[in-house]
Protein backbone atom coordinates (compact mmCIF):
# COMPACT_ATOMS: atom_id res chain seq x y z
CA UNK A 1 0.00 0.00 0.00
CA UNK A 2 1.55 3.24 -1.01
CA UNK A 3 0.48 6.44 0.62
CA UNK A 4 1.36 10.03 0.17
CA UNK A 5 4.05 11.78 2.10
CA UNK A 6 2.60 13.61 5.09
CA UNK A 7 2.85 17.28 5.88
CA UNK A 8 6.27 18.44 4.87
CA UNK A 9 7.49 21.88 5.72
CA UNK A 10 8.19 23.67 2.48
CA UNK A 11 11.82 23.92 1.51
CA UNK A 12 13.07 21.28 3.97
CA UNK A 13 15.53 18.76 2.47
CA UNK A 14 14.63 15.11 2.26
CA UNK A 15 17.19 13.14 4.25
CA UNK A 16 16.22 9.48 4.51
CA UNK A 17 13.73 7.89 2.20
CA UNK A 18 12.39 4.36 2.01
CA UNK A 19 10.50 3.31 -1.10
CA UNK A 20 8.23 0.29 -1.16
CA UNK A 21 10.33 -1.50 1.42
CA UNK A 22 9.78 -5.14 2.29
CA UNK A 23 11.87 -6.76 4.99
CA UNK A 24 11.78 -10.35 6.12
CA UNK A 25 12.91 -11.39 9.55
CA UNK A 26 12.85 -14.79 11.12
CA UNK A 27 11.52 -16.44 7.94
CA UNK A 28 8.46 -14.30 7.71
CA UNK A 29 7.68 -10.97 6.14
CA UNK A 30 7.93 -8.42 8.93
CA UNK A 31 7.57 -5.30 6.79
CA UNK A 32 5.64 -5.20 3.51
CA UNK A 33 5.67 -2.40 0.98
CA UNK A 34 6.28 0.46 3.37
CA UNK A 35 7.39 3.83 2.14
CA UNK A 36 8.34 6.77 4.30
CA UNK A 37 10.47 9.87 4.29
CA UNK A 38 12.36 11.61 7.01
CA UNK A 39 12.76 15.32 6.52
CA UNK A 40 15.01 17.75 8.26
CA UNK A 41 13.70 19.37 11.44
CA UNK A 42 10.90 16.84 11.68
CA UNK A 43 10.09 14.13 14.15
CA UNK A 44 8.30 11.12 12.74
CA UNK A 45 6.79 8.62 15.13
CA UNK A 46 5.99 5.03 14.24
CA UNK A 47 3.27 3.46 16.34
CA UNK A 48 1.34 0.23 16.12
CA UNK A 49 0.56 -2.97 17.95
CA UNK A 50 3.20 -5.52 18.89
CA UNK A 51 4.54 -7.40 15.93
CA UNK A 52 3.62 -4.63 13.54
CA UNK A 53 7.18 -4.55 12.25
CA UNK A 54 8.17 -1.18 13.73
CA UNK A 55 11.56 -2.15 15.09
CA UNK A 56 12.36 -4.25 12.03
CA UNK A 57 11.67 -1.23 9.87
CA UNK A 58 14.01 0.86 11.99
CA UNK A 59 16.73 -1.75 11.75
CA UNK A 60 16.39 -1.85 7.98
CA UNK A 61 16.68 1.93 7.81
CA UNK A 62 20.06 1.90 9.47
CA UNK A 63 21.36 -0.90 7.33
CA UNK A 64 21.41 -3.69 9.84
CA UNK A 65 18.83 -5.83 8.07
CA UNK A 66 18.92 -6.11 4.30
CA UNK A 67 15.50 -5.48 2.76
CA UNK A 68 14.00 -8.18 0.59
CA UNK A 69 12.80 -5.58 -1.87
CA UNK A 70 12.50 -1.86 -2.18
CA UNK A 71 15.16 0.79 -1.83
CA UNK A 72 16.45 3.03 0.93
CA UNK A 73 18.03 6.33 -0.02
CA UNK A 74 20.28 8.25 2.33
CA UNK A 75 20.80 11.78 1.04
CA UNK A 76 19.75 10.47 -2.34
CA UNK A 77 22.22 7.56 -2.39
CA UNK A 78 21.21 3.92 -2.08
CA UNK A 79 22.04 2.65 1.38
CA UNK A 80 23.69 -0.56 0.23
CA UNK A 81 26.30 1.37 -1.73
CA UNK A 82 27.54 3.22 1.32
CA UNK A 83 30.11 1.83 3.72
CA UNK A 84 29.43 1.30 7.38
CA UNK A 85 31.26 4.35 8.66
CA UNK A 86 29.74 6.81 6.29
CA UNK A 87 26.28 5.55 7.25
CA UNK A 88 27.10 5.90 10.93
CA UNK A 89 28.11 9.50 10.40
CA UNK A 90 24.71 10.28 9.01
CA UNK A 91 22.45 7.94 10.99
CA UNK A 92 22.58 7.39 14.74
CA UNK A 93 20.53 4.86 16.66
CA UNK A 94 19.28 5.02 20.24
CA UNK A 95 18.06 1.56 21.23
CA UNK A 96 17.85 -0.61 24.30
CA UNK A 97 21.19 -0.94 25.92
CA UNK A 98 23.04 -4.24 25.85
CA UNK A 99 24.31 -5.56 29.16
CA UNK A 100 27.68 -4.06 29.97
CA UNK A 101 30.15 -6.69 31.07
CA UNK A 102 33.22 -4.54 31.26
CA UNK A 103 33.68 -1.41 33.35
CA UNK A 104 33.44 1.77 31.29
CA UNK A 105 33.01 5.35 32.39
CA UNK A 106 30.25 7.57 31.08
CA UNK A 107 32.76 9.72 29.25
CA UNK A 108 34.38 6.73 27.55
CA UNK A 109 30.94 5.43 26.67
CA UNK A 110 29.88 8.67 25.09
CA UNK A 111 33.19 9.02 23.28
CA UNK A 112 32.29 5.79 21.51
CA UNK A 113 30.03 7.90 19.40
CA UNK A 114 33.06 9.55 17.82
CA UNK A 115 34.30 6.29 16.33
CA UNK A 116 32.80 6.94 12.93
CA UNK A 117 34.89 10.11 12.65
CA UNK A 118 38.20 8.45 13.39
CA UNK A 119 40.71 8.85 10.61
CA UNK A 120 42.06 5.30 10.98
CA UNK A 121 39.44 2.60 11.10
CA UNK A 122 39.79 0.60 14.28
CA UNK A 123 42.75 2.44 15.76
CA UNK A 124 43.56 6.02 16.65
CA UNK A 125 43.02 8.32 19.58
CA UNK A 126 40.30 10.79 20.35
CA UNK A 127 41.05 14.29 19.14
CA UNK A 128 40.51 17.50 21.01
CA UNK A 129 37.41 18.07 18.93
CA UNK A 130 36.08 14.65 19.90
CA UNK A 131 36.43 15.58 23.55
CA UNK A 132 34.71 18.91 23.09
CA UNK A 133 31.78 17.31 21.30
CA UNK A 134 31.48 14.70 24.03
CA UNK A 135 31.54 17.32 26.72
CA UNK A 136 28.92 19.38 24.92
CA UNK A 137 26.48 16.48 24.64
CA UNK A 138 27.11 15.52 28.25
CA UNK A 139 26.05 19.00 29.18
CA UNK A 140 23.05 18.81 26.89
CA UNK A 141 21.91 15.59 28.55
CA UNK A 142 22.79 16.83 32.02
CA UNK A 143 25.33 14.10 32.65
CA UNK A 144 28.35 16.30 33.27
CA UNK A 145 28.50 15.51 36.96
CA UNK A 146 28.42 11.80 36.23
CA UNK A 147 30.97 11.76 33.45
CA UNK A 148 33.60 10.02 35.57
CA UNK A 149 31.30 7.39 37.00
CA UNK A 150 31.04 3.87 35.68
CA UNK A 151 28.04 3.16 33.51
CA UNK A 152 27.02 0.30 35.80
CA UNK A 153 26.64 2.74 38.65
CA UNK A 154 24.00 4.80 36.87
CA UNK A 155 20.25 4.50 37.25
CA UNK A 156 18.09 3.34 34.34
CA UNK A 157 17.12 6.87 33.42
CA UNK A 158 20.69 8.11 33.55
CA UNK A 159 21.85 5.23 31.35
CA UNK A 160 19.22 6.05 28.78
CA UNK A 161 20.45 9.65 28.77
CA UNK A 162 23.97 8.37 28.24
CA UNK A 163 22.76 6.34 25.24
CA UNK A 164 21.17 9.49 23.93
CA UNK A 165 24.35 11.43 24.55
CA UNK A 166 26.39 8.88 22.64
CA UNK A 167 24.03 9.08 19.68
CA UNK A 168 24.17 12.87 19.77
CA UNK A 169 27.94 12.73 19.95
CA UNK A 170 28.01 11.15 16.50
CA UNK A 171 26.72 14.48 15.20
CA UNK A 172 24.54 12.49 12.84
CA UNK A 173 21.72 14.55 11.41
CA UNK A 174 19.34 11.58 11.36
CA UNK A 175 18.33 9.99 14.66
CA UNK A 176 16.52 6.67 14.88
CA UNK A 177 15.13 5.93 18.33
CA UNK A 178 13.71 2.54 19.25
CA UNK A 179 11.45 2.72 22.29
CA UNK A 180 13.66 5.36 23.92
CA UNK A 181 11.28 5.96 26.79
CA UNK A 182 10.59 2.32 27.62
CA UNK A 183 12.30 2.24 30.99
CA UNK A 184 12.02 5.87 31.94
CA UNK A 185 9.82 7.50 34.50
CA UNK A 186 7.56 10.39 33.61
CA UNK A 187 10.04 13.20 34.08
CA UNK A 188 12.69 11.56 32.00
CA UNK A 189 10.38 10.62 29.22
CA UNK A 190 9.54 14.21 28.50
CA UNK A 191 13.13 15.34 28.91
CA UNK A 192 14.43 12.86 26.40
CA UNK A 193 12.00 13.78 23.69
CA UNK A 194 12.53 17.47 24.38
CA UNK A 195 16.17 16.86 23.64
CA UNK A 196 15.23 15.34 20.31
CA UNK A 197 12.91 18.22 19.59
CA UNK A 198 15.67 20.72 20.35
CA UNK A 199 18.04 18.97 18.06
CA UNK A 200 15.57 19.00 15.24
CA UNK A 201 14.75 22.63 15.73
CA UNK A 202 18.29 23.79 16.34
CA UNK A 203 20.31 21.66 13.93
CA UNK A 204 17.65 20.66 11.42
CA UNK A 205 18.09 17.01 12.36
CA UNK A 206 15.49 14.45 11.37
CA UNK A 207 14.24 11.97 13.91
CA UNK A 208 12.32 8.72 13.76
CA UNK A 209 10.88 7.45 17.03
CA UNK A 210 9.41 3.98 17.41
CA UNK A 211 7.21 4.04 20.46
CA UNK A 212 4.34 2.40 22.27
CA UNK A 213 3.40 5.66 23.90
CA UNK A 214 0.77 7.17 21.60
CA UNK A 215 0.36 10.31 23.63
CA UNK A 216 4.06 11.04 23.67
CA UNK A 217 4.02 10.61 19.91
CA UNK A 218 1.06 12.92 19.68
CA UNK A 219 2.85 15.59 21.69
CA UNK A 220 6.22 15.55 19.99
CA UNK A 221 5.83 14.16 16.50
CA UNK A 222 5.25 16.16 13.35
CA UNK A 223 4.19 13.02 11.47
CA UNK A 224 2.89 9.70 12.64
CA UNK A 225 3.15 6.43 10.74
CA UNK A 226 0.68 3.86 11.99
CA UNK A 227 1.64 0.29 11.17
CA UNK A 228 -0.28 -2.96 11.41
CA UNK A 229 0.91 -6.42 10.38
CA UNK A 230 3.96 -5.04 8.66
CA UNK A 231 2.07 -2.60 6.50
CA UNK A 232 1.36 1.07 6.70
CA UNK A 233 -2.19 1.50 7.89
CA UNK A 234 -2.15 5.22 7.55
CA UNK A 235 0.06 8.22 8.09
CA UNK A 236 -0.18 11.92 8.56
CA UNK A 237 -0.23 14.52 11.29
CA UNK A 238 -1.28 13.45 14.77
CA UNK A 239 -4.69 15.04 14.18
CA UNK A 240 -5.13 13.07 10.98
CA UNK A 241 -3.99 9.73 12.35
CA UNK A 242 -5.21 9.65 15.93
CA UNK A 243 -8.90 9.23 15.22
CA UNK A 244 -10.99 6.79 17.21
CA UNK A 245 -12.19 4.67 14.29
CA UNK A 246 -8.63 4.30 12.96
CA UNK A 247 -7.15 3.44 16.35
CA UNK A 248 -9.92 1.02 17.18
CA UNK A 249 -9.44 -0.85 13.96
CA UNK A 250 -5.68 -1.14 14.45
CA UNK A 251 -5.46 -1.79 18.17
CA UNK A 252 -8.79 -3.59 18.52
CA UNK A 253 -9.67 -1.68 21.65
CA UNK A 254 -12.17 1.06 22.30
CA UNK A 255 -10.54 4.49 22.64
CA UNK A 256 -11.54 7.96 23.56
CA UNK A 257 -9.80 10.82 21.76
CA UNK A 258 -10.10 14.33 23.05
CA UNK A 259 -8.05 17.49 22.90
CA UNK A 260 -5.18 17.72 25.37
CA UNK A 261 -6.09 20.54 27.79
CA UNK A 262 -2.62 22.12 27.59
CA UNK A 263 -1.21 21.38 24.15
CA UNK A 264 -4.46 21.11 22.24
CA UNK A 265 -3.28 18.06 20.34
CA UNK A 266 -5.11 14.74 20.32
CA UNK A 267 -5.07 12.79 23.58
CA UNK A 268 -5.83 9.10 23.38
CA UNK A 269 -7.32 7.17 26.25
CA UNK A 270 -8.19 3.49 25.96
CA UNK A 271 -11.58 2.55 27.39
CA UNK A 272 -11.76 -0.75 29.20
CA UNK A 273 -15.15 -2.31 29.36
CA UNK A 274 -15.76 -4.21 32.58
CA UNK A 275 -15.97 -7.93 32.03
CA UNK A 276 -19.56 -9.16 32.07
CA UNK A 277 -20.43 -12.41 33.73
CA UNK A 278 -23.32 -14.12 32.13
Amino acid sequence: MIFSVARRKPGKPLMLEARDLSVSYDHRIAVANVSLTLNAAEITAIIGPNGAGKSTLLRALNGQIKPASGVILLDGQPLERLNRRSISRRVAVVAQEAELRFPVTVLEFVLGGRFAWATNAGWGWETERDLRVAEAVLQETELTELSGRLMNELSGGERQRALMARALATEAPILLLDEPTANLDLSHQATLLSLVRNRCDRDQSAALVVTHDINLASQFADNILLMKDGRTFTSGTPEEVLKPQILEEVFEVKVLVDAHPVTGGPRVTPVHEPHRHS
Binding site: S88, E99, T105, E108, L111, F115, W123, E135, S147
Partner: protein, 349 residues
Protein backbone atom coordinates in the same frame (compact mmCIF):
# COMPACT_ATOMS: atom_id res chain seq x y z
CA UNK B 1 30.64 28.46 27.40
CA UNK B 2 29.46 28.36 31.00
CA UNK B 3 31.54 27.56 34.01
CA UNK B 4 30.52 23.91 33.87
CA UNK B 5 32.41 23.60 30.62
CA UNK B 6 35.70 24.51 32.22
CA UNK B 7 34.98 21.97 34.96
CA UNK B 8 34.76 19.30 32.34
CA UNK B 9 38.09 20.21 30.86
CA UNK B 10 39.86 19.46 34.11
CA UNK B 11 37.49 16.72 35.25
CA UNK B 12 38.96 13.52 36.59
CA UNK B 13 37.08 11.58 33.92
CA UNK B 14 39.05 13.31 31.28
CA UNK B 15 42.31 12.76 33.06
CA UNK B 16 41.67 9.09 33.71
CA UNK B 17 40.99 8.36 30.11
CA UNK B 18 43.41 6.21 28.26
CA UNK B 19 45.57 8.35 26.04
CA UNK B 20 48.41 7.75 23.69
CA UNK B 21 50.82 8.96 26.30
CA UNK B 22 49.53 6.60 28.96
CA UNK B 23 49.72 3.71 26.55
CA UNK B 24 53.24 4.46 25.46
CA UNK B 25 54.44 4.87 29.04
CA UNK B 26 52.83 1.63 30.23
CA UNK B 27 54.12 -0.34 27.27
CA UNK B 28 57.58 1.10 27.71
CA UNK B 29 57.59 0.13 31.37
CA UNK B 30 56.43 -3.39 30.56
CA UNK B 31 58.99 -3.73 27.78
CA UNK B 32 61.77 -2.76 30.14
CA UNK B 33 60.47 -5.25 32.70
CA UNK B 34 60.38 -7.89 29.97
CA UNK B 35 63.94 -7.22 28.84
CA UNK B 36 65.12 -7.29 32.45
CA UNK B 37 63.40 -10.58 33.04
CA UNK B 38 64.96 -12.07 29.92
CA UNK B 39 68.39 -11.13 31.20
CA UNK B 40 67.79 -12.16 34.81
CA UNK B 41 66.06 -15.47 34.06
CA UNK B 42 68.84 -16.46 31.72
CA UNK B 43 71.12 -16.42 34.74
CA UNK B 44 68.95 -19.01 36.49
CA UNK B 45 68.78 -22.66 35.61
CA UNK B 46 69.51 -26.21 36.63
CA UNK B 47 73.20 -25.59 36.00
CA UNK B 48 75.03 -22.82 37.80
CA UNK B 49 76.53 -20.17 35.58
CA UNK B 50 78.84 -17.39 36.79
CA UNK B 51 76.65 -14.30 36.94
CA UNK B 52 79.13 -11.64 35.94
CA UNK B 53 80.60 -13.51 33.03
CA UNK B 54 77.11 -14.40 31.84
CA UNK B 55 75.96 -10.80 31.96
CA UNK B 56 79.05 -9.76 30.08
CA UNK B 57 78.45 -12.37 27.41
CA UNK B 58 74.80 -11.35 27.09
CA UNK B 59 75.72 -7.72 26.79
CA UNK B 60 78.05 -8.56 23.95
CA UNK B 61 75.19 -10.38 22.23
CA UNK B 62 77.20 -13.55 22.16
CA UNK B 63 80.17 -12.20 20.30
CA UNK B 64 82.44 -12.54 23.29
CA UNK B 65 82.50 -15.44 25.70
CA UNK B 66 83.79 -13.29 28.58
CA UNK B 67 85.52 -16.17 30.25
CA UNK B 68 82.67 -18.65 30.11
CA UNK B 69 83.67 -22.19 29.21
CA UNK B 70 82.48 -23.64 25.95
CA UNK B 71 79.78 -25.62 27.73
CA UNK B 72 78.62 -22.67 29.80
CA UNK B 73 78.43 -20.53 26.70
CA UNK B 74 76.39 -23.21 24.92
CA UNK B 75 74.07 -23.60 27.86
CA UNK B 76 73.46 -19.87 27.96
CA UNK B 77 73.04 -19.19 24.25
CA UNK B 78 71.95 -22.51 22.79
CA UNK B 79 69.64 -23.77 25.49
CA UNK B 80 68.55 -21.12 27.94
CA UNK B 81 68.16 -17.99 25.85
CA UNK B 82 66.20 -19.65 23.02
CA UNK B 83 63.96 -21.25 25.62
CA UNK B 84 63.32 -17.92 27.34
CA UNK B 85 62.57 -16.26 24.02
CA UNK B 86 60.19 -19.08 23.15
CA UNK B 87 58.50 -18.62 26.53
CA UNK B 88 58.07 -14.94 25.73
CA UNK B 89 56.60 -15.70 22.32
CA UNK B 90 54.20 -18.31 23.69
CA UNK B 91 53.12 -16.13 26.61
CA UNK B 92 52.67 -13.07 24.45
CA UNK B 93 50.66 -15.00 21.85
CA UNK B 94 48.33 -16.70 24.28
CA UNK B 95 47.67 -13.59 26.35
CA UNK B 96 46.96 -11.48 23.27
CA UNK B 97 44.63 -14.11 21.83
CA UNK B 98 42.83 -14.31 25.17
CA UNK B 99 42.40 -10.54 25.39
CA UNK B 100 41.01 -10.42 21.86
CA UNK B 101 38.54 -13.24 22.46
CA UNK B 102 37.36 -11.64 25.67
CA UNK B 103 36.66 -8.38 23.88
CA UNK B 104 35.03 -9.94 20.83
CA UNK B 105 32.90 -12.40 22.77
CA UNK B 106 32.13 -9.88 25.51
CA UNK B 107 33.04 -12.47 28.07
CA UNK B 108 35.85 -12.06 30.59
CA UNK B 109 36.10 -15.84 30.78
CA UNK B 110 36.79 -16.44 27.09
CA UNK B 111 40.16 -18.09 26.68
CA UNK B 112 41.81 -20.14 23.94
CA UNK B 113 41.75 -23.31 26.01
CA UNK B 114 38.16 -22.99 27.20
CA UNK B 115 36.96 -22.29 23.68
CA UNK B 116 38.53 -25.41 22.27
CA UNK B 117 41.00 -23.50 20.13
CA UNK B 118 44.05 -24.84 21.99
CA UNK B 119 42.85 -28.41 21.65
CA UNK B 120 42.15 -27.89 17.97
CA UNK B 121 45.73 -26.71 17.57
CA UNK B 122 46.96 -29.66 19.63
CA UNK B 123 45.13 -32.16 17.43
CA UNK B 124 46.58 -30.47 14.37
CA UNK B 125 50.06 -30.70 15.85
CA UNK B 126 49.59 -34.35 16.75
CA UNK B 127 48.55 -35.14 13.18
CA UNK B 128 51.66 -33.34 11.99
CA UNK B 129 53.87 -35.28 14.38
CA UNK B 130 52.39 -38.65 13.56
CA UNK B 131 52.09 -38.37 9.80
CA UNK B 132 54.68 -35.76 8.88
CA UNK B 133 57.05 -36.18 11.79
CA UNK B 134 60.16 -35.30 9.84
CA UNK B 135 59.07 -31.91 8.56
CA UNK B 136 59.02 -29.22 11.23
CA UNK B 137 56.98 -26.72 9.25
CA UNK B 138 53.92 -28.93 9.13
CA UNK B 139 53.46 -28.48 12.85
CA UNK B 140 52.60 -24.78 13.08
CA UNK B 141 50.73 -25.00 9.81
CA UNK B 142 48.49 -27.87 10.89
CA UNK B 143 48.16 -26.33 14.34
CA UNK B 144 46.85 -23.13 12.79
CA UNK B 145 44.45 -25.17 10.63
CA UNK B 146 43.26 -27.10 13.66
CA UNK B 147 42.75 -23.90 15.64
CA UNK B 148 40.79 -22.28 12.82
CA UNK B 149 38.62 -25.36 12.29
CA UNK B 150 37.89 -25.50 16.00
CA UNK B 151 36.94 -21.81 15.89
CA UNK B 152 34.56 -22.41 13.01
CA UNK B 153 33.06 -25.43 14.75
CA UNK B 154 32.47 -23.40 17.89
CA UNK B 155 30.94 -20.58 15.92
CA UNK B 156 28.57 -22.80 13.95
CA UNK B 157 27.52 -24.67 17.06
CA UNK B 158 26.83 -21.42 18.85
CA UNK B 159 24.77 -19.77 16.14
CA UNK B 160 21.25 -19.57 17.36
CA UNK B 161 18.32 -17.41 16.46
CA UNK B 162 19.73 -14.35 18.10
CA UNK B 163 23.13 -14.81 16.58
CA UNK B 164 26.08 -16.25 18.43
CA UNK B 165 25.64 -14.81 21.88
CA UNK B 166 28.66 -14.90 24.20
CA UNK B 167 26.99 -17.48 26.43
CA UNK B 168 26.32 -19.83 23.57
CA UNK B 169 29.84 -19.36 22.30
CA UNK B 170 31.43 -20.34 25.59
CA UNK B 171 29.06 -23.30 25.89
CA UNK B 172 29.88 -24.41 22.37
CA UNK B 173 33.55 -23.94 23.22
CA UNK B 174 33.27 -26.24 26.19
CA UNK B 175 31.63 -28.87 23.99
CA UNK B 176 34.35 -28.61 21.36
CA UNK B 177 37.11 -28.65 23.99
CA UNK B 178 35.85 -31.77 25.69
CA UNK B 179 35.27 -33.51 22.38
CA UNK B 180 38.77 -32.71 21.16
CA UNK B 181 40.21 -33.73 24.52
CA UNK B 182 38.68 -37.16 24.02
CA UNK B 183 40.17 -37.31 20.53
CA UNK B 184 43.57 -36.49 21.98
CA UNK B 185 43.24 -39.13 24.68
CA UNK B 186 42.13 -41.65 22.06
CA UNK B 187 45.13 -40.92 19.86
CA UNK B 188 47.51 -41.20 22.79
CA UNK B 189 46.16 -44.61 23.73
CA UNK B 190 46.99 -45.75 20.21
CA UNK B 191 50.58 -44.84 20.85
CA UNK B 192 52.88 -47.17 22.69
CA UNK B 193 53.55 -46.65 26.35
CA UNK B 194 56.84 -44.85 25.91
CA UNK B 195 55.47 -42.16 23.68
CA UNK B 196 52.42 -41.65 25.85
CA UNK B 197 54.58 -40.28 28.62
CA UNK B 198 56.28 -37.69 26.47
CA UNK B 199 53.04 -36.70 24.77
CA UNK B 200 51.26 -36.21 28.07
CA UNK B 201 54.09 -33.99 29.21
CA UNK B 202 53.96 -31.99 25.99
CA UNK B 203 50.21 -31.56 26.22
CA UNK B 204 50.68 -29.82 29.56
CA UNK B 205 53.04 -27.30 28.08
CA UNK B 206 56.69 -28.03 27.36
CA UNK B 207 59.10 -25.31 26.37
CA UNK B 208 62.17 -27.50 26.23
CA UNK B 209 61.84 -28.26 22.53
CA UNK B 210 64.62 -26.45 20.76
CA UNK B 211 63.79 -25.55 17.21
CA UNK B 212 66.17 -23.14 15.64
CA UNK B 213 64.02 -22.62 12.58
CA UNK B 214 60.66 -22.26 14.27
CA UNK B 215 61.68 -19.88 17.06
CA UNK B 216 62.00 -16.80 14.84
CA UNK B 217 58.68 -17.78 13.24
CA UNK B 218 57.01 -17.93 16.63
CA UNK B 219 58.41 -14.58 17.68
CA UNK B 220 57.41 -12.95 14.41
CA UNK B 221 53.89 -14.30 14.67
CA UNK B 222 53.57 -13.00 18.22
CA UNK B 223 54.64 -9.49 17.26
CA UNK B 224 52.64 -9.36 14.04
CA UNK B 225 49.56 -10.83 15.68
CA UNK B 226 49.68 -8.48 18.64
CA UNK B 227 50.08 -5.52 16.30
CA UNK B 228 47.21 -6.64 14.08
CA UNK B 229 44.90 -6.97 17.05
CA UNK B 230 46.00 -3.70 18.60
CA UNK B 231 45.23 -1.94 15.34
CA UNK B 232 41.65 -3.10 15.77
CA UNK B 233 41.54 -2.11 19.41
CA UNK B 234 39.16 0.78 19.00
CA UNK B 235 36.69 -1.42 17.13
CA UNK B 236 37.08 -4.02 19.85
CA UNK B 237 36.33 -1.39 22.47
CA UNK B 238 32.95 -0.86 20.89
CA UNK B 239 32.36 -4.55 20.24
CA UNK B 240 33.01 -5.16 23.89
CA UNK B 241 29.93 -3.13 24.70
CA UNK B 242 27.64 -4.93 22.30
CA UNK B 243 27.68 -6.11 18.71
CA UNK B 244 24.60 -4.16 17.70
CA UNK B 245 25.84 -0.98 19.33
CA UNK B 246 29.19 -1.38 17.64
CA UNK B 247 27.48 -1.85 14.28
CA UNK B 248 25.37 1.24 14.78
CA UNK B 249 28.42 3.31 15.65
CA UNK B 250 30.28 2.35 12.50
CA UNK B 251 32.25 -0.81 13.29
CA UNK B 252 32.45 -3.36 10.48
CA UNK B 253 31.55 -6.17 12.81
CA UNK B 254 31.91 -9.01 10.36
CA UNK B 255 35.34 -7.91 9.23
CA UNK B 256 36.67 -7.43 12.73
CA UNK B 257 35.32 -10.80 13.76
CA UNK B 258 37.15 -12.50 10.90
CA UNK B 259 40.38 -10.68 11.73
CA UNK B 260 40.19 -11.67 15.38
CA UNK B 261 39.39 -15.30 14.63
CA UNK B 262 42.13 -15.70 12.05
CA UNK B 263 44.83 -13.81 13.94
CA UNK B 264 43.99 -15.47 17.24
CA UNK B 265 44.07 -18.89 15.59
CA UNK B 266 47.47 -18.03 14.20
CA UNK B 267 48.72 -16.98 17.63
CA UNK B 268 47.32 -20.04 19.38
CA UNK B 269 48.44 -22.37 16.61
CA UNK B 270 52.04 -21.17 16.68
CA UNK B 271 52.18 -21.43 20.49
CA UNK B 272 50.69 -24.88 20.73
CA UNK B 273 52.82 -26.21 17.88
CA UNK B 274 55.92 -25.01 19.69
CA UNK B 275 55.06 -25.92 23.24
CA UNK B 276 51.79 -27.72 23.76
CA UNK B 277 48.92 -26.16 25.69
CA UNK B 278 50.02 -23.69 28.32
CA UNK B 279 46.82 -22.94 30.19
CA UNK B 280 45.56 -19.91 32.10
CA UNK B 281 47.80 -17.40 30.39
CA UNK B 282 44.99 -16.24 28.10
CA UNK B 283 42.69 -15.93 31.08
CA UNK B 284 44.71 -14.43 33.88
CA UNK B 285 47.04 -12.01 32.12
CA UNK B 286 44.39 -10.03 30.20
CA UNK B 287 42.38 -9.81 33.41
CA UNK B 288 45.31 -8.37 35.28
CA UNK B 289 45.97 -5.97 32.45
CA UNK B 290 42.41 -4.71 32.47
CA UNK B 291 42.28 -4.48 36.23
CA UNK B 292 45.37 -2.35 36.44
CA UNK B 293 45.15 -0.32 33.24
CA UNK B 294 41.47 -0.25 32.33
CA UNK B 295 39.31 -2.05 29.78
CA UNK B 296 40.37 0.07 26.85
CA UNK B 297 41.85 -2.40 24.40
CA UNK B 298 44.29 0.12 23.00
CA UNK B 299 46.25 -0.27 26.19
CA UNK B 300 45.14 -3.65 27.51
CA UNK B 301 46.00 -5.67 24.39
CA UNK B 302 49.63 -4.58 24.11
CA UNK B 303 49.91 -4.76 27.89
CA UNK B 304 48.56 -8.31 27.83
CA UNK B 305 51.08 -9.25 25.14
CA UNK B 306 54.01 -7.95 27.15
CA UNK B 307 52.61 -9.18 30.45
CA UNK B 308 51.93 -12.62 29.04
CA UNK B 309 55.52 -12.89 27.85
CA UNK B 310 56.72 -11.92 31.33
CA UNK B 311 54.37 -14.34 33.06
CA UNK B 312 55.40 -17.39 31.06
CA UNK B 313 59.10 -16.56 31.29
CA UNK B 314 58.84 -16.54 35.07
CA UNK B 315 56.60 -19.62 35.18
CA UNK B 316 58.97 -21.53 32.95
CA UNK B 317 61.95 -20.56 35.07
CA UNK B 318 60.16 -22.08 38.04
CA UNK B 319 59.23 -25.15 36.00
CA UNK B 320 62.82 -25.81 35.00
CA UNK B 321 64.51 -25.12 38.33
CA UNK B 322 62.23 -26.14 41.14
CA UNK B 323 63.07 -29.87 40.99
CA UNK B 324 66.27 -29.52 39.05
CA UNK B 325 67.70 -31.37 37.25
CA UNK B 326 64.23 -32.70 36.54
CA UNK B 327 61.60 -30.49 34.96
CA UNK B 328 57.94 -29.86 35.36
CA UNK B 329 55.67 -28.96 32.47
CA UNK B 330 55.24 -25.18 32.42
CA UNK B 331 51.46 -25.61 32.12
CA UNK B 332 51.48 -27.08 35.62
CA UNK B 333 53.08 -23.93 36.99
CA UNK B 334 50.83 -21.52 35.10
CA UNK B 335 47.86 -23.46 36.46
CA UNK B 336 49.22 -23.39 40.00
CA UNK B 337 49.74 -19.64 39.83
CA UNK B 338 46.81 -18.92 37.56
CA UNK B 339 44.01 -20.76 39.31
CA UNK B 340 44.27 -19.07 42.73
CA UNK B 341 44.91 -15.76 41.04
CA UNK B 342 41.81 -16.23 38.98
CA UNK B 343 39.72 -17.08 42.02
CA UNK B 344 40.99 -13.92 43.66
CA UNK B 345 40.13 -11.86 40.59
CA UNK B 346 36.67 -13.37 40.44
CA UNK B 347 36.05 -12.39 44.03
CA UNK B 348 37.16 -8.86 43.44
CA UNK B 349 34.92 -8.43 40.43
Amino acid sequence: MSSTASNIVTSPARQNRVTLRKTVVSCLALTIALLLSIVLMSLIGSEQLPARASLCALASFGTSSCGLTRDQFDILFQIRLPRILLAAAVGGSLATAGAAYQALLRNPLAEPYLLGISNGAAVGTMIALIFFGASEWTRPFLAFTGALLATLAVYRLARGRAGATPERLVLAGVIVTTFLSSVIVFVTTLMDATRIRSFTFWLLGDLSGTSRTLLPVAITITIVGALALTLNARSLNLLMLGERDAFDLGVEVGRVRVVVFVVASLLVGSSVAASGSVGYVGLVVPHLARLSLGSDNRISIPAAALGGALFVIVADTVARTIIAPRELPVGAITALIGAPLFIYLLKRA
